[in-house]
Symmetry: C2
Subunit: 183 residues, 2 copies
DNA sequence: GCCAGCATGTAAGGAGTTACATGATTGA
DNA sequence: TCAATCATGTAACTCCTTACATGCTGGC
């Protein structure tokens, strides 16, 4: 379990409210850890109760008040201890791979539909890669020297880019294979 | 949710018991869908109750009896319908990426420990890649012509191989970055 | 005699998903 | 005025993980 830890890292990078965290999980952090606002609010309350983070009520004039959270000493210690733990093997869930092997047990119409679906899926990954590359030139310009925090963010983003490139190449392989079946 | 579907595909490829399925999930299917035997037994009972699969009691002499499951008409229809559904975006959970960004908020000792942990993690992926490559030459010899089922299994395995190669290259990048911090 | 493997389960608890709910402001 | 965005939640349910449980056989 590491939603707590993902939240600690995000709040250390930049304090913020549950709502802001939810938006970060949709964008940057969502690349490697997904969470909905419901989960986030629940975990934030627990973390506050356990003294890992503290909240500050922020009056925003017109907009609703927000509770901005920051990490305190205990939270830092929890994170440091977790960083020293062994990395758990990831639980892989790749639905498309199941479908591809399932294609052996369907008819021509089903395969044609799957090809169309793989193409649609490929387009979403192409869009993701384009978003990452745009973000990379915006946030990590080659000329500017980076501090540790940004160098680490950059290497994680490079992982996302490498992943998307690998997926796209593999999906081309998949499409070739699907189209070449039954010959 | 697609554990049912992963089981349907596996049982279509080869009928078997809950125990045998659990072993396949540890090996081949586990590359893209993980499940424990507890989950598998529970889902198998539900699938049998819903008439997707049928069980046959097999007396094995010395060893305990087993219930060998096969997919029947309803199960095939469920699978065909599911293959036509859009692929859900994967829920990503990459603990190591969280830790890498977390390394910005720990001390030298913590970073040294993380480097060691990444090296250990890298070794497990190297072993996984070696296993995949061994399996590939064993199961998909270049000379033999393959039927559709095996061509699809092969393209999924190639995806696993591409993934492991990508991960290894990225982990080298991560190690370089971690070692270059604070300079 | 002991361990690994075969074979199937129960139970408890934590995590995650989906649906629903509220109420304000800002911009088109 | 209508939709989008900001901001925070509850409730019900499903799913997944972890721990525990049983009992047999074959090989070292």
């Amino acid at each position: 379990m590491a939603l707590e830890h993902a939240i600690l890292v995000s709040l250390l990078e930049q304090p913020g409210s549950g709502y802001e965290l939810a938006r970060r999980f949709e964008r940057s952090i969502g690349r490697f850890w997904t969470a909905t606002h419901q989960q986030i609010y629940r975990v934030l309350r627990r973390m506050e109760a356990d003294g890992w983070i503290i909240a500050e009520e922020v009056d925003q004039g017109g907009r609703p008040d927000k509770r901005s959270y920051s990490v305190v000493g205990t939270g830092r210690e929890v994170l440091a201890a977790w960083l020293r733990d062994p990395v758990q093997p990831e639980a892989v869930r790749h639905e498309l791979a199941v479908k591809i092997r399932g294609a052996a047990f369907t008819d021509d119409a089903g395969r044609t539909a799957l090809v169309a679906e793989v193409e649609r899926y490929r387009a979403t990954h192409e869009a993701t890669l384009a978003r990452y590359l745009t973000g990379e030139v915006r946030d990590f310009p080659a000329a500017a020297p980076l501090d540790d925090q940004h160098r680490l963010q950059h290497v994680v983003l490079r992982g996302g880019i490498a992943y998307e490139r690998m997926v796209l190449a593999w999906l081309d392989d998949v499409l070739d294979t699907l189209r070449g079946l039954g010959r």
